[in-house]
Subunit: 139 residues, 2 copies
DNA sequence: CATATTTTGTTTGTGTACAAATAGACTGTG
DNA sequence: CACAGTCTATTTGTACACAAACAAAATATG
């Protein structure tokens, strides 16, 4: 194998992104130890929507059916959201934030934005915008 | 809350990176269904080094002690690597790829590079370089 | 209307990922 | 030498993440 063809782990996008996500999660849990990024994402989206079915919430937060179920179970166990089968479509489980859930969201929304700021802190504003745009294009 | 201050999930780095990683993993498992990105990373690094202790391999692949143990266990179960306590330091577990492990690495190294190419395919070469550089700076 | 298909949710199994507690082995310093 | 501190590995518990298989409900289509 030619030297230039060598597979260098540290130069693969997947590896670098995995490490960047690790750092991001570390920042998140330092600033918001009360919940995980995933749980906050689900709660935030549900607060934005007011209500949504479990499936719908999963799609909007990019979690598959098994994952969103676990996240919802944990949020419900902490009484941050409620769930009830929909009368008009008994397959669907309608979710809504509780008063406590909305309070939790309001309490941490600013902190969550700060997590993004700290994650991007090594870059200047232009670079931050650039990174976000490039990432959005490889989704 | 001001409209401009609104927390928009889709614009948070963490959320976008998580989705980008999801797409990357999907591409990886389509091209290399035989193993996970994590397992390949550990195998690749071990092949590059020739040998390493479990702890060392974990550090170099950014996996914590519990994670690297699981990955090593699975690679060993498939006879892709061997492990043996080091005589001169009985705490350490020295790992080395087997002939089969090295063959597996050689077989998939080109595919793994192709995974990176496909992940970055929506971007032109300059943008790909840019994205990698920006990601490396927020690690 | 009857049934084939799709949608929603659950369950099971495997694989990262990390925190915290534990145990055994090494190292440094008094 | 003794022993305090450090390093390596293991174990346990929790939380994503996804595939696959299943059941129940709704919808589409003949």
């Amino acid at each position: 194998m030619d030297k230039n063809d060598a597979y260098i782990l540290e130069r693969q996008v997947g590896f670098v992104m995995r490490r960047a996500v690790q750092r991001h999660i570390a920042i998140f849990s330092a600033l918001i130890p009360e919940m995980t990024p995933t749980q906050f994402a689900a709660l935030a989206k549900l607060c934005e929507l007011g209500q949504a079915s479990q499936n719908e919430l999963g799609r909007l937060t990019s979690m598959d059916v098994a994952t969103i179920k676990g996240v919802v179970d944990r949020l419900r166990a902490r009484e941050l959201i409620t769930s009830a089968p929909l009368e008009s479509d008994k397959r669907r489980l309608m979710l809504a934030p509780t008063r406590k859930g909305r309070a939790m969201y309001r309490k941490y929304a600013a902190q969550a934005a700060e997590v993004s700021r700290q994650t991007l802190a090594p870059l200047d504003e232009g670079e931050q915008r650039q990174l976000m745009q490039l990432l959005e294009r490889i989704i």
